[in-house]
């Protein structure tokens, strides 16, 4: 394991390795997250990106936004491709190099789940970053297994009846050395976690909540605020799991009711009848309460 000084970890990085000119919507949380991750990882990095919004808006010929080597793969196999890159570097006795596999929530939790599980199990030295915008935004807002309870998508018009898959915990039970969650509003924390993850040898998993103005139904200027509210309402706990034990949980001293988070997004609009919350809101508050209890937020 590589050692990094505290001040290197805490330094905010702005290198424009994910450059202007991409076609993301205004205020896109995923574009913001990808930029922060690329800048934190630095020049000595290879990005393997699964199909999804990020790949679509950042890589059209002839003007991609990536200023680091970039490899596009399919929904289902980005972990396998990244594993291959890592194995090739090993075989050629080259490196060290940071290899980052990136995918949206669909390619991570649904379509590519077998390949990410395989990568964790085989122990490749790859950081997997999941940009979680809680549905298949690229193909037109269909439900994924990361879609939260109650959220409206084109395939769940009455609100999603199931709860969100807990992938950070699933990743942790693979016995990998580093798992973390982060949000785009706290860029210091996000960049710190990227740099910290890259110091570990073996597979690492970083789960980033990335608001989607189009799919979530809010204006682009609210992306950071909404991502912060997801934390403050305890719907998205931020923590690290190092070698199996949950640690560095971000406490929420001033907890907010989930209504504040839900009210800003059109995908939860049907949960309120004439401004009054329905039973599903209480259910969502219950999820938040469970998080509070579980992580002692």
């Amino acid at each position: 394991m590589m050692e990094l000084h505290e001040e290197d970890l805490n330094r905010v990085e702005k290198k424009n390795l994910f450059a202007s000119g991409h076609r993301a919507c205004g205020g896109c949380g995923q574009a913001l997250a990808a930029r922060l991750v690329a800048d934190a990882a630095g020049e000595n990095t290879i990005a393997c990106v699964a199909t999804g919004c990020l790949e679509i808006f950042s890589s059209p010929y002839p003007d991609p936004s990536w200023r680091i080597p970039f490899l596009h793969s399919l929904f289902e196999n980005v972990s396998a491709v990244a594993s291959g890159v890592e194995a090739a570097y090993k075989a050629m006795n080259k490196g060290p190099v940071n290899i980052i596999a990136m995918g949206g929530d669909g390619s991570t939790a649904d379509i590519g789940f077998q390949s990410i599980s395989g990568m964790f199990e085989r122990g490749h030295n790859v950081l997997y970053v999941c940009y979680d915008n809680e549905a298949y935004m690229n193909t037109g807002v269909q439900r994924s297994s990361f879609t939260p309870y109650g959220a409206k998508t084109t395939t769940t018009p009455m609100g999603n009846p199931t709860r969100k898959k807990n992938l950070p915990m699933l990743a942790a039970v693979h016995g990998i050395p580093y798992v973390a969650t982060a949000t785009v509003d706290d860029y210091r924390d996000l960049q710190r976690k990227v740099k910290k993850a890259l110091t570990f040898e073996g597979p690492k998993y970083l789960h980033v909540l990335a608001p989607c103005p189009l799919g979530w139904g809010h204006s682009g200027d609210l992306s950071v605020l909404i991502s912060r509210l997801a934390k403050d309402t305890c719907l998205f706990p931020v923590f690290e799991i190092i070698n199996g034990s949950v640690t560095n949980i971000q406490k929420v001293p001033h907890k907010k009711p989930v209504e504040e988070y839900l009210n800003l997004q059109a995908r939860f609009k049907h949960l309120f009848k004439k401004g009054e919350p329905t039973g599903m809101v209480a259910e969502i508050q219950e999820i938040a309460n469970q998080n509070i209890e579980r992580f002692n937020l």
Partner: protein, 551 residues
């Protein structure tokens, strides 16, 4: 195009980024706004500016120069100003307002300790000469700003020493005399000529000034104490508030005796009472309304009460009782308050048969002040004060006026502010163009800020020295801030309406459309790529970024 290696279709060095700026319907702009402290300051001091250099660079010299751009008396105002800036401070709605006044005092004191010299705005000298009548805050401020702009200025002062009310009206426990003296000396170093013991209108005709100088500024102040006109006012131990304060301030304190009664509820009344207390007397303040209606600064009333000065409300003097020519008591009547009068304060009406006598060895009538017009003939003058237009020009050609003589009874800061405005008006007038000052940008209020990014932190406040210690001398009652405390306090500033380098716009832009300009240290938008999403506008803590419609 050079031939690329086999299998590589794209030469990254030749990439021309796709300009997403064309998508934009709204456009973010960095626009400096007026902070509420500056807006509520009568001198419009750049408070945000001086706090910023203190917080970022601990640069007291630069802070002093920023303050003295507008105000030549930071050490004085840092002590005597009722600090409306702190009432305006947006931190009021968050935790507690900044200690702006104490910070100003410390910066002012630093300037005096290190003998900092004022910078001229222009190096050239101008041929026009300006006469300033009165060396109070208004007159000296006007002279200071004119001298900085290259005019030859001469100040005429009737008293023996300059300073006006700051010297003769403010007790030393609020403003030590050497502080004032050194701030005045710094102004004179700019080349301002000062002649004391000359009363314009008596020693030198007013018309001669108008003849010899291209412009005249009247900063006469309100130097004449007004009495209420009750029998016995000519007795030996009856003073007006100003007479009393002046006597004490020049070191000729009168024998006040055991019982002192001060009539009035303004700042002069508080000063007189607290001075008399320090001279060893038992002091009562007699006021015909209640504390709520008192025009004095709240802090001064509080401090007077701490110093065990007795307040008699609803009490009005009707006669001073004398034994030969010596005061023995004050006959008063109880009042009751009826509906508000023209001044908006409740109208006191005497209760018949409620007369009583307050024993007194000295009576001080701090019941108002007037302009001393002796020998100065201003053709048109409404009621007691000089009437001047918004550019402070009077009805007499080339004669400007400001300060208490125009405003009525106001603060030192208000007078300094008027001196500054008059200097600008005189400059504009002599250059023959109309008022050129630009309207200031809109004021930032708390609702405009994104307070998430600020931390709650308590205001540093210094305890006044204990009352029994205070009353022993005329020393200042508040200790100064330590240098560390000032920086800590300056760091609490929200920097409303101006970038303080939080990097939010830089870091939050999903499109990399914000760049740091290394030469200026400022940020700028790259409008080729900015999609106008407004994230930076919402996440800017200090409301420095505005979203405007794209044309």
């Amino acid at each position: 195009m050079d031939k690329l290696p086999l299998g590589l279709a794209l030469d990254l060095r030749r990439v021309v980024p796709y300009k997403t700026g064309s998508w934009r319907t709204m456009k973010p702009l960095y626009i400096m706004q007026t902070p509420p402290c500056t807006h509520s300051c009568p001198i419009n001091n750049d408070i945000r500016g001086f706090l910023r250099v203190l917080a970022d660079k601990q640069d007291y010299t630069e802070a002093w120069h920023i303050l003295t751009r507008t105000n030549p008396f930071p050490a004085t105002c840092g002590r005597v100003c009722p600090h409306p800036c702190e009432d305006g401070c947006n931190r009021r709605d968050f935790d507690t307002p900044l200690a702006i006044n104490s910070s100003e005092r410390s910066v002012g004191d630093y300037g005096l300790e290190h003998h900092l010299e004022h910078r001229k705005e222009v190096l050239a000298t101008r041929k026009e000469k300006v006469a300033v009548v009165g060396s109070g805050p208004a007159g000296l401020s006007c002279a200071f700003h004119l001298a900085k702009r290259g005019f030859a200025v001469k100040v005429f002062e009737a008293a023996r020493e300059p300073g006006g009310m700051m010297r003769y009206g403010i007790p030393a426990y609020r403003l030590p005399k050497d502080v004032l003296q050194r701030e005045i000396e710094a102004i004179l170093k700019l080349g301002v000529e000062l002649e004391c013991n000359v009363k314009v209108g008596v020693n030198i005709p007013f018309d001669q000034l108008r003849h010899d100088y291209q412009a005249v500024f009247l900063g006469l102040g309100a130097q004449k104490g007004a009495t209420v006109g009750i029998p016995g006012e000519d007795a030996r131990n009856v003073f007006t508030g100003l007479e009393f304060l002046k006597a004490v301030n020049i070191g000729k304190a009168p024998e006040v005796g055991r019982n002192v009664v001060v009539v009035g509820g303004g700042n002069t009344a508080m000063d007189c009472a607290r001075v008399a207390k320090r001279l060893g007397a038992d002091v009562q303040i007699v006021y015909r309304r209640t504390r709520v209606e008192m025009p004095a600064i709240t802090a001064e009333i509080d401090e007077a009460m701490e110093e065990r000065i007795m307040f008699r409300y609803h009490t009005n003097p009707i006669k001073i009782i004398t034994d030969e020519d010596k005061v023995v008591g004050l006959l008063c009547v109880q009042m009751e308050l009826k509906e508000a009068d023209a001044s908006g304060r409740a109208r006191p009406v005497p209760i018949p048969g409620s007369e009583s006598v307050i024993p007194a060895d000295t009576v001080i009538m701090a019941t108002g002040q007037e302009v001393d017009y002796d020998g100065i003939d201003l053709a048109k003058r409404e009621n007691r004060w000089i009437s001047a237009d918004e550019f402070l020009m009077t009805s007499v050609d080339r004669v400007f006026a400001g300060g208490d003589a125009v405003l009525g009874l106001e603060t030192v800061s208000a007078a300094i502010g008027q001196g500054l405005r008059a200097a600008t008006a005189i400059e504009d007038y002599l250059e023959g163009h109309v008022e050129s000052s630009l309207a200031s940008p809109p004021v930032v209020y708390f609702k405009d800020l994104n307070s998430y990014y600020y931390n709650r932190k308590k205001r540093i406040s210094k305890e006044a020295i204990p009352v029994h210690e205070r009353l022993k001398s005329f020393n200042e009652i508040y200790p100064p801030f330590d240098p560390g405390e000032i920086v800590q306090e300056a760091n609490r500033c929200f920097s409303c309406g101006l970038c303080f380098d939080c990097k939010n716009c830089l870091m939050y832009c999903p499109d990399n459309a914000v760049n740091l300009v290394p030469a200026t240290g400022r940020y700028e938008f790259d409008y080729d790529f900015c999609k106008g999403c407004g994230l930076c506008v919402r996440e800017c803590p200090c409301h420095y970024i505005q979203l405007t419609l794209e044309k």
